[in-house]
C-alpha cells in the first residue's frame, strides 16, 4: 500500500483575482430574440449580421444537446449574461486602458510579453476588446490584425462576410449555433501573400464578470505562401456560479501557407468551455495546433483540420491536465480530402484528484484522399484511483490507398522513476512534478520559451497538494 501525504495548495492569485464589476453595460440573463435584437443594436451590427444572429438562435433552439461527452447539466443558459461591455472602448496604448483592467493584464504578463516577444496583441475583457495593437513594421507588410467588430464594418467587411462562420456553421452543433447568435469580440487576422511573420501575434481573453459568457470569434486568413504563429491565452477568476465560454476559431490556410495556432487555456474551475476551432487547409498548406488545457470545470475542445488541398498537412500536439472537479474532454479531428495529405496527433493527458480526462479523436479519410497518411499517438497518466482517464479514438477510412496508424497507452507514474529521483535528493512531490512535466514535454517544447515556462508552472501548481 502506497503512503500518501498532503501538501497545501499554492496560491493561484494571478489568475483568481477578481476585479470589482464596473461594467458599462450588462445584458440581462437568458436567451431570447429580444435579447439578440438588443445585442445587435448595442454592437451596431450590419443588417446581414442581425439576421444571422436571429437565424442562429433559431437553430440553437432546434438543436439538441449532444448525447455524448461530459455532462453540462450545471449550465443553465437562462442564468448566463451573454454580453457584458467593459467601461472602456478599445485602446491601442496600455496607458489609456483603465487602471484596474490594465493591472489585471499586467499581472498576467501580457504587456511585458508584447514588449519582449510579440508582433501584436489583442486583449479582450469580458465581451469586448480593450486593447489592440500591432507593431508598425508588421502593419507595413500589409498584415491586418484587428478586432472583429472593426473588421466587420471597415474595409475588410466583405472579407468577413465571405468567411464568417462558413467553416463552422451554426448547424455544426448547439453551441456553434449559440456562438452565431451571441458572439462578441475576438480578432481578425489577414496575412498577405508571401509574408512571413517571424514573431507571433497574441490574443488574450479574460472573463471577469460573474455568471457571464464569453463568445469571441477569431478569424484568421493566411494567404498563399505566407506564415504566422498565433497564440491564444485565456483565464478567469473562480466564482460559485457557472460561467460559459463558447468561442469560435476559423482558420483559412491558403496554398503553401503555414499557420501555427498555440493555446494555453487556464479558465477558472467554474467555467464550461465549449469552444469550436477549425482550420481549412488548401494545397501544400500546413496547420499546426499546439494546445494546453489546464482550466475549466467542463471542457469540450477538439480542433478540427480539414485537409482539402493536395499535399496539405496537419499536426496536433496537446496536453490536458484534469484536476479536482474537472471533466476535460479534449482531442482533435481531421478530415483528409485532398490527395497525399498527412496528419499527426500527439497527445498527453493527466488525471489527478478525481479529475476526468478524456481523449477523443476522429480521423476520416475520404474516398478520394488517396495517398493519405495519418498517425495518432496518445498517452494518459493516472495519478490516483479517484480519477478517470478515457481514450475514445475513431478512424473512418474509405480508400485502400492510405496508411493509418494509431497507438495509445494508459498507465501510472513509475515508482522506479520516482525512487531514482528521490535517491538524488528530490522530494517525492518534486520528483512526481518533474516526471509529469517531462510527460507533457511534447507541448512545452513546441511553445515559445515564456509560454513553456508558464505551462510548466501550471503543471507544478496542479501537482501541489497530493503525492503518493
Amino acid at each position: 500500500m502506497k503512503e500518501k501525504s498532503q501538501v497545501a495548495d499554492i496560491d493561484r492569485s494571478i489568475y483568481d483575482i477578481t476585479d470589482v464589476e464596473n461594467d458599462a453595460y450588462r445584458m440581462e440573463e437568458g436567451l431570447t430574440p429580444e435579447i439578440i435584437d438588443k445585442l445587435s443594436k448595442e454592437k451596431d451590427d450590419p443588417v446581414w449580421m442581425q439576421q444571422f444572429r436571429l437565424q442562429s438562435l433559431q437553430i440553437y433552439n432546434e438543436t439538441p444537446i449532444p448525447n455524448w461527452g461530459p455532462s453540462i447539466e450545471g449550465l443553465d443558459m437562462a442564468h448566463i449574461a451573454t454580453y457584458v461591455r467593459p467601461k472602456t472602448n478599445m485602446k491601442n496604448d496600455w496607458k489609456d486602458v483603465p487602471d484596474d483592467i490594465k493591472e489585471t493584464f499586467e499581472r498576467l504578463g501580457i504587456p511585458e510579453a508584447e514588449r519582449k516577444s510579440l508582433a501584436g496583441v489583442g486583449a479582450q475583457y469580458d465581451s469586448e476588446l480593450v486593447y489592440h495593437n500591432v507593431r508598425e513594421e508588421v502593419a507595413a507588410e500589409g498584415v491586418v490584425y484587428t478586432d472583429m467588430e472593426s473588421a466587420l464594418k471597415g474595409e475588410y467587411a466583405d472579407m468577413v462576410h465571405k468567411y464568417f462562420m462558413k467553416l463552422v456553421t451554426p448547424h455544426d452543433h448547439k453551441f456553434a449555433a449559440l456562438h452565431g447568435a451571441v458572439w462578441s469580440g475576438g480578432s481578425f487576422v489577414y496575412v498577405p501573400k508571401g509574408v512571413h511573420l517571424s514573431i507571433p501575434l497574441q490574443s488574450y481573453f479574460r472573463l471577469n464578470a460573474k455568471g457571464a459568457g464569453q463568445f469571441e470569434h477569431t478569424l484568421i486568413i493566411v494567404d498563399e505562401g505566407a506564415s504566422l504563429h498565433f497564440i491564444e491565452g485565456c483565464s478567469a477568476p473562480k466564482y460559485n456560479v457557472a460561467n460559459l465560454h463558447a468561442g469560435c476559431v476559423e482558420l483559412y490556410i491558403k496554398k503553401n501557407a503555414k499557420l501555427r495556432y498555440s493555446t494555453i487555456e487556464n479558465w477558472s474551475k467554474n467555467m464550461y468551455n465549449l469552444n469550436t476551432k477549425r482550420a481549412l487547409v488548401e494545397e501544400g498548406g500546413t496547420i499546426e495546433w499546439i494546445s494546453g488545457s489546464f482550466g475549466s470545470h467542463t471542457g469540450c475542445l477538439y480542433p478540427m483540420s480539414v485537409l482539402k488541398g493536395d499535399n496539405s498537412k496537419s499536426e496536433f500536439t496537446g496536453v490536458t491536465f484534469a484536476g479536482k472537479g474537472q471533466d476535460l474532454d479534449t482531442g482533435a479531428k481531421v478530415v483528409h480530402m485532398g490527395k497525399n495529405t498527412s496528419s499527426y496527433m500527439n497527445t498527453r493527458s493527466i488525471s489527478k484528484s478525481g479529475g476526468v480526462s478524456t481523449f477523443r479523436s476522429s480521423v476520416v479519410v475520404q474516398k478520394g484522399a488517396t495517398g493519405a497518411k495519418s498517425s495518432v499517438s496518445c498517452q494518459s497518466l493516472m495519478l490516483d484511483s479517484e480519477s478517470r482517464s478515457d481514450t475514445i479514438p475513431a478512424m473512418d477510412i474509405r480508400t485502400k490507398d492510405a496508411a493509418v496508424g494509431h497507438e495509445a497507452k494508459i498507465g501510472s507514474i513509475s515508482s522506479d522513476a520516482v525512487f531514482y529521483l528521490m535517491s538524488r535528493g528530490m522530494s517525492e512531490e518534486d520528483a512526481r512534478a518533474l516526471i509529469v512535466s517531462g510527460f507533457a514535454d511534447n507541448v512545452s517544447k513546441e511553445l515559445p520559451v515564456e509560454y513553456a515556462v508558464e505551462m510548466n508552472n501550471l503543471i507544478r501548481l496542479e501537482m501541489k497538494g497530493s503525492i503518493g
Binding site: 478517470r388 479514438p393 475513431a394 493509418v404
Partner: protein, 308 residues
C-alpha cells in the same frame, strides 16, 4: 413482424457523425427462440447452427476445461446468444465460424462472466456473404481472471461486418488481450469496436488491443474504434491499429519471389483467416473455415487461371 433493433452499442458514445455508436438492424420478432443449456465439465460442445433464433447457456464448473466449437452457417436470418458462466479456475475456449450464405443476416451475441482465476478464450472467424453483427461482453469479475480474443475476418462484395467487444476488468490482476486481423475487398464495410474498461479496484490489471486491417478494394470502408476506459491508477492499457494496403516491405518480399501485388493481396487476405483456422487445433473447425474460404475466394482464382 419486423422490428428495428439497436445492437453493438459502444459503451461510451462518441460523435454521431461517425455512425459508430451502435448498429441498427431489422429483425423478425415473430421467430421463436429455442433455448438450450449445457452444464459442462471437461467435455467438448459442438454447436451447429442454421437459421432462426437460439439462446444457449453454458456453465463451466470449477476447474473445468471446456471447448465449444460453433459453426454458424445460416442461409436465412439468424440470431444466436451464448451465455457463459465460468466458475473459479474454469477454462473455456469458444471457437466460432460465422459464415452466412445467400446474403443472410447473422446476429450473434456472447456474454461471459468469469470468477477468480477463470480464463475465457474466443477465436472467431467471420466469412460468408451476408451481413454479420457480433457483440461480445466479458466481465472479469474474479481476481486473476483473463480474456484472450482473436478475430479474423474477410469481407467481400457489399458485405457488412460489425464487431463489438467490451471487456470489463473488475477483479485485481485481470488480463485481456484482443487481436483482430482482417481484409476487406470490393465494397465491403467493417466496424470494429473494442473496449477495455478498467473499473475502480482492478489494480495490477493489464489490457491490450491490436487491429490490423488490410484494405484491398476500391470501395471498402473501415471503421476502427478502440476504447480504453480507466478508473484505476495501477493498471496498464494499450491499443494500436494499423490500416492500409500491403506495406512496401511485404510487397517487396512477395515481388522478390515472383508474386505480383494482386496475388500477394489474395495470399495475405487468406492468411488473416487461415491463421484463425489453425489456432484452436480442431480439425473440424479448420476444415470448415478452409472450405468457406475456398467458396469465398474461388471465383477470383478461377479468373486467374483463365488469364494464364
Amino acid at each position: 413482424m419486423k422490428e428495428t433493433i439497436q445492437i453493438n452499442k459502444l459503451p461510451t458514445p462518441t460523435w454521431n457523425f461517425l455512425r459508430v455508436n451502435s448498429a441498427t438492424v431489422q429483425w423478425d420478432s415473430s421467430i421463436p427462440t429455442a433455448e438450450e443449456h449445457y452444464t459442462a465439465s471437461d467435455s467438448p460442445i459442438k454447436l451447429c447452427e442454421g437459421f432462426g433464433s437460439k439462446k444457449v447457456t453454458i456453465s463451466a464448473g470449477e476447474g473445468s476445461t471446456v471447448t465449444v466449437v460453433e459453426l454458424v452457417n445460416p442461409a436465412d436470418a439468424s440470431r444466436t446468444e451464448l451465455d457463459f458462466e465460468l466458475a473459479a479456475g474454469a477454462k473455456v475456449k469458444l471457437v466460432q465460424l460465422l459464415n452466412p450464405s445467400n446474403g443472410a443476416l447473422l446476429i450473434h451475441r456472447v456474454t461471459a462472466r468469469l470468477a477468480e482465476g477463470a480464463k475465457f478464450s474466443l477465436i472467431s472467424a467471420a466469412l460468408g456473404d451476408g451481413d454479420i453483427y457480433t457483440d461480445t461482453a466479458v466481465e472479469l469479475d474474479g481476481d486473476s481472471s483473463s480474456l484472450e480474443a482473436d478475430y479474423g475476418y474477410l469481407g467481400m462484395n457489399a458485405q457488412k461486418i460489425d464487431i463489438n467487444l467490451a471487456v470489463n476488468h473488475w477483479g485485481k490482476k485481470t488480463e485481456s488481450e484482443i487481436k483482430a486481423n482482417g481484409a476487406l475487398m470490393d465494397s465491403a464495410e467493417k466496424v470494429f469496436r473494442g473496449t477495455i474498461d478498467f473499473k475502480n479496484g482492478s489494480s495490477d490489471s493489464v489490457g491490450a488491443e491490436n487491429e490490423t486491417v488490410l484494405m484491398l478494394g476500391d470501395n471498402v470502408v473501415n471503421k476502427t474504434v478502440p476504447l480504453i476506459l480507466c478508473a484505476e491508477e495501477n493498471v496498464e492499457g494499450s491499443h494500436g491499429a494499423t490500416i492500409g494496403e500491403l506495406d512496401d516491405a511485404t510487397l517487396f518480399y512477395f515481388e522478390s519471389r515472383g508474386i505480383d501485388k494482386e496475388h500477394a493481396s489474395d495470399i495475405m487476405a487468406r492468411a488473416s483467416v487461415e491463421r484463425i483456422a489453425r489456432l484452436p487445433g480442431d480439425g473440424e473447425f479448420e476444415k470448415a473455415v478452409e472450405e468457406a474460404l475456398v467458396r469465398q475466394l474461388k471465383p477470383q482464382f478461377e479468373g486467374d487461371g483463365e488469364d494464364e
